[in-house]
């Protein structure tokens, strides 16, 4: 029978095509929904540009000039057309190209998010493994209680406390602002550290608990018992046999957290006055700066899609079971 052999490649192609179609549909739906939502918001960007002294006539004239008065589908299609040619338009407020505006802020948010995830993992991995290895032991009790407590601290409170303790009182870190990498790595990290820690406060418990749960589950697996009966040392078993399979969900979650932080570290960015994407969103949305908002939406959606693809990819790298033979 060759039916199966013939079907196999066709199906595989079908799967990746389906996946691509899915992602495309997601992108379309997201941008369409965003455009529609912004469109539903009352008023037009003109008001934000012309300021309080503008008259309704001036507003109307400006709307017409920028094309804000065109019907919604026309504007959306126009925008999609621009997107396909790599043109995201110009910010209504600043007149700057949207792409440049976003790319200028992306590194800040990216770095903070990466650092936050890195710090979280650095804390979560050893604590998660060791507390999962001795459920109910003293370390486990302290760690689980600590994780619950940390999880219950809102990020804005964590940020304020960190500023007070590590910046204002001790002066170890700057209270706010940003130094780009071009200012030197040490300087850059000095500025990035507190915001990243503030974010990590909320995310570490998530990762830690996930890993701990998986470690507990993996420890029950037969292959761990097998390794134990073969007289392998405990630490070897924990880090060679337990961590790796438990790390799969952890990596997924870390990626998800990373994506989420990219999309929404608004609170921390505004608290620490970081020139990142969150601040841009916070200032563009009320101003109805449609091109910027749409640009951000696309970026967030693409980030989501890319993160998802990376997770898939990560799985194939980390989990041999998903690797093609």
């Amino acid at each position: 029978m060759t039916a199966g052999a013939l079907a196999a490649p066709r199906v595989r192609l079908g799967r990746s095509a389906r996946r691509a179609a899915h992602l495309l549909a997601v992108l379309l739906l997201v941008t369409l929904a965003a455009a529609a939502l912004v469109d539903l918001m009352p008023g037009s960007p003109s008001a934000a540009i012309l300021g309080p002294t503008a008259t309704p006539e001036q507003l109307a004239a400006m709307d017409a000039e920028y094309g804000f008065d065109r019907p919604f589908p026309v504007r959306y299609l126009d925008w999609v057309g621009g997107l396909l040619t790599g043109d995201l338009g110009r910010s209504v407020q600043s007149g700057q190209p949207v792409l440049g505006t976003i790319l200028e802020r992306l590194p800040v948010t990216l770095e903070i998010a990466l650092l936050a995830v890195g710090i979280s993992l650095l804390v979560a991995v050893p604590l998660g493994v060791y507390s999962g290895a001795r459920v109910g032991g003293p370390l486990d009790r302290v760690v689980t209680a600590g994780a619950s407590a940390l999880m219950s601290i809102p990020v804005f409170v964590a940020g304020v406390v960190l500023i007070y303790l590590l910046a204002l009182t001790t002066g170890w870190f700057p209270v706010s602002g940003w130094a780009p990498l071009s200012a030197g790595l040490a300087e850059n990290l000095r500025f990035a550290f507190l915001p990243a820690v503030a974010l990590a406060v909320g995310e570490t418990p998530t990762l830690l608990r996930l890993l701990r749960g998986d470690v507990v589950a993996t420890l029950r697996e037969d292959f761990v018992r097998t390794a134990a009966t073969r007289g392998l040392p405990r630490r070897y078993i924990l880090f060679r046999h337990v961590l790796r399979p438990s790390a799969l969900p952890l990596v997924t979650m870390a990626a998800v957290v990373f994506g989420r932080l990219l999309a929404g570290s608004v609170v921390v960015e505004s608290l620490f006055a970081l020139p990142g994407l969150g601040g841009l969103a916070l200032q563009s949305i009320p101003a109805k700066d449609i091109p910027v908002i749409q640009g951000l939406v696309v970026l967030v959606a693409i980030t989501y899609v890319v993160v998802n693809m990376l997770v898939d990819l990560g799985y194939t790298v980390l989990d041999p079971r998903t690797r093609a033979r």
């Binding site: 037969d222 018992r225 073969r230 392998l232 790796r244 980390l318 690797r323």
Partner: protein, 326 residues
């Protein structure tokens, strides 16, 4: 070295649980000589796995264990925890029921086979690799050099079980324990694996404990058979004796309840009423009494001891069957 390979005396493993203390192993004594195959049969939940786990020091963490275990003259029960683990790792090999879950899915099989020798005998990476290839060859995995790099999911069930056997053999154990090693496999493959296990044990002069719930698996291959029921050994002896002249009522009933290939269709099977007991219960007397056709008053109040007979055939029954079941 003289003396039996394995001596177990009055081993108990009681596991505390929400329903009460589970007496999973409740006073088991065994001996096994080198080069011998011991079959351990019993139905699901009777404590077979717990027994062998306890033997190798892998009883549940909260369990209370008592009794004596001696392997090659060394008393395991007197050893400190880590020393015991190392000793067991070096001298005892284990093969488990489910070959998929007994292998770490994300570690190449070559490393899983070689890691124990590397640890116990300080072999280099390359030497461990060569040894792993050698072992794979011995257990009949084709193309061992290439397959070392493969992951467990890339093997079929039978090959996986061969790999776990290779792992168990890696440190040249004196004792091999196969806990339901073929239950997850198809009959045609089961036969291959059973042949392999017994063949290896014979060639290497190892002691082999074969655990199974399938009487057929034990019947053809074990020198001695021990039948477990509710945490105890209820009958023990040379395999021919146990199968040919079952004395304990449970063994007897069990043999009668199995549909036979050679019996004509629609033969009515002998039924054992009731269900196996819950080991968390603490009823006195013989655990089989509630299901036993020959129970007497004594059976319900007193637990029958394992009594020896000639030829090493022992049973724990006050009203033993006369034998010749089939």
């Amino acid at each position: 070295m003289k003396g039996p390979l394995l001596v177990v005396e009055d081993l108990r493993c009681h596991i505390p649980s929400a329903r009460g203390t589970v007496r999973a192993v409740d006073g088991v004594s065994l001996t096994l000589a080198r080069g011998q195959v011991l079959g351990l049969v019993g139905e699901s939940g009777c404590g077979k796995s717990t027994l062998v786990r306890t033997l190798v020091g892998a009883a549940p963490a909260r369990a209370s264990v008592s009794g004596a275990i001696t392997v090659s003259g060394a008393s395991l029960t007197d050893m400190p925890y880590e020393a015991r683990r190392a000793f067991v790792g070096r001298h005892v090999g284990m093969v488990f029921q489910d070959p998929m879950s007994a292998l770490n899915p994300v570690v190449p099989v070559g490393r899983q086979i070689g890691e124990a020798v590397r640890h116990h005998h300080g072999l280099s990476r390359a030497a461990a690799r060569a040894r792993a290839a050698d072992l794979l060859e011995q257990v009949g995995v084709p193309d061992p050099g290439r397959r070392l790099r493969h992951y467990p999911h890339q093997f079929s069930g039978g090959l996986r079980q061969r790999i776990t056997i290779a792992m168990a053999l890696s440190c040249d154990p004196e004792l091999l324990i196969a806990d339901e090693a073929t239950t997850a496999l198809d009959v045609t493959v089961q036969r291959q694996i059973l042949d392999l296990l017994t063949g290896l044990a014979r060639d290497r002069g190892m002691g082999l404990i074969m655990v199974s719930h399938d009487l057929g698996v034990i019947a053809g291959r074990a020198d001695e058979t021990a039948v477990m029921y509710a945490g105890r050994i209820v009958e023990r002896g040379p395999t021919r004796e146990v199968f040919g002249r079952a004395r304990h009522r449970y063994t007897d009933a069990l043999l009668g309840a199995i549909p036979r290939l050679d019996a004509p269709p629609h033969t009515r099977l002998r039924v054992i009423p009731g269900a196996p007991p819950d080991l968390a219960g603490t009823a006195p007397g013989c655990a089989f009494a509630p299901r036993c056709p020959a129970r007497g008053e004594r059976c319900e109040s007193e637990s029958p001891p394992l009594q020896g007979e000639s030829g090493g055939h022992a049973h724990a029954c006050f009203h033993p069957a006369e034998g010749e079941t089939t």
